[in-house]
Subunit: 225 residues, 2 copies
């Protein structure tokens, strides 16, 4: 009595939206957005590709949802701290989130249908600044400057063609290889005197710029508040 004539014939794995999102994010974290295909995602989840479409409307819908999960990971500015510390903490949190989810960097601010975590986050940041006495206009200045810097840092640094695990020297050399020696003397000096120095870590730059920006905003607010 073979009650199961084909035991190997898929147990018809049960899916829901959450595992789909989590698996998609972890795939993108590891291999970038181009490693996230509906087929490979379905494969990892042990279902047929079309099964995914019962839980997401399309790949774009999937990415929208992934982005909102990412927004949810950003720490909201805490109520108690002064605005500067609150903004600093939020910036560090956002930087960490973008480092974990590089694929999201170019997408966070360009979705046509932002999710609730996205809107809640913006609402909290704006609220914190307004509560600290920033005028509407000064709030716009501050938020624009801070986010430009944070996202820009993530974009330019984290997308660099090497990361901590690479041999930066080798990468730099291969980039300059095709050109005549001494064609770019300032660049070479900069690389050898700074980037290739032992303790160098691009990520350290982040806090320098962040503090410069925050100090600048504090000064500016004094005059405009």
């Amino acid at each position: 009595m073979a009650t199961e004539p084909l035991p190997e014939s898929r147990p018809r794995r049960r899916l829901s939206r959450e595992p789909v999102l989590q698996t998609a994010i972890s795939r993108a974290d590891q291999g970038g957005l181009e490693a996230l295909t509906m087929r490979s995602l379905a494969d990892e989840l042990g279902v047929a590709p079309m099964a995914l479409y019962r839980h997401v409307a399309s790949k774009e819908d999937l990415v929208d949802a992934m982005i909102d999960v990412v927004f949810g990971e950003i720490g909201l500015p805490s109520g108690g701290a002064d605005w500067k510390n609150a903004m600093r903490q939020r910036a560090m949190s956002l930087r960490g989130v973008l480092a974990r989810h590089r694929w999201a960097i170019g997408l966070m601010e360009s979705r046509r249908s932002p999710g609730p975590a996205n809107l809640r986050h913006h609402d909290a940041v704006i609220g914190k600044l307004r509560a600290a006495g920033f005028s509407v206009e000064m709030t716009a200045h501050a938020y624009s400057l801070l986010d430009s810097y944070i996202y820009g840092f993530a974009l330019t640094k984290m997308n660099l063609p090497f990361d901590a695990s690479d041999d930066i020297g080798a990468v730099a050399q291969s980039m300059l290889e095709p050109f005549p020696v001494n064609e770019y003397p300032n660049l070479v000096e900069f690389l050898s005197e700074h980037v290739l120095k032992p303790g160098y870590d691009y990520a350290d730059e982040f806090e320098y710029g962040l503090d410069l920006v925050l100090d600048g905003l504090e000064t500016a607010r004094g005059g405009a508040a």
Copy 2:
């Protein structure tokens, strides 16, 4: 004497690398990177898709070359001006270039094989700062901060889901539509009190932040130079 038995049978259009690059860039400028397919590009150039591969090694090679053309459009810091004005001009130029070529924003700093225009640009900027007396370390701070801000502004502002031609009010409304009224009071206030005001133009924010950053760098250099 039908010297051309099949006049309509392709005149075998002659191609070279330059028109391929220019056409590719103009397509990407208009429709974004996703509008740039080898097929449509070949179509616009009046050749078969595979003809392109005689002039570019692959689509990635094509994009690399496009990026280097874009780098070439950025004004190098002029020799005569003081560093602050030179950096300001470069920033404005870069902002303009990124506005014309939105598709390039996420790619400019992440190519594994930077072209000559790319390297020459970095060399010139670093050279200008060093010549103005910036230490190597302070040069790193300044360049990192400036580029993060410029690219970040381009990323967060120019990628916003609306541009000058859209009805911002309508877009904002449709974004908030799915959620309960008063769910995001600070965001709503900010939108109605600032973003939706008649003269609003996000691009104006750019110079505010840029000058704040430049002033901050000037102050910092005073102590560190």
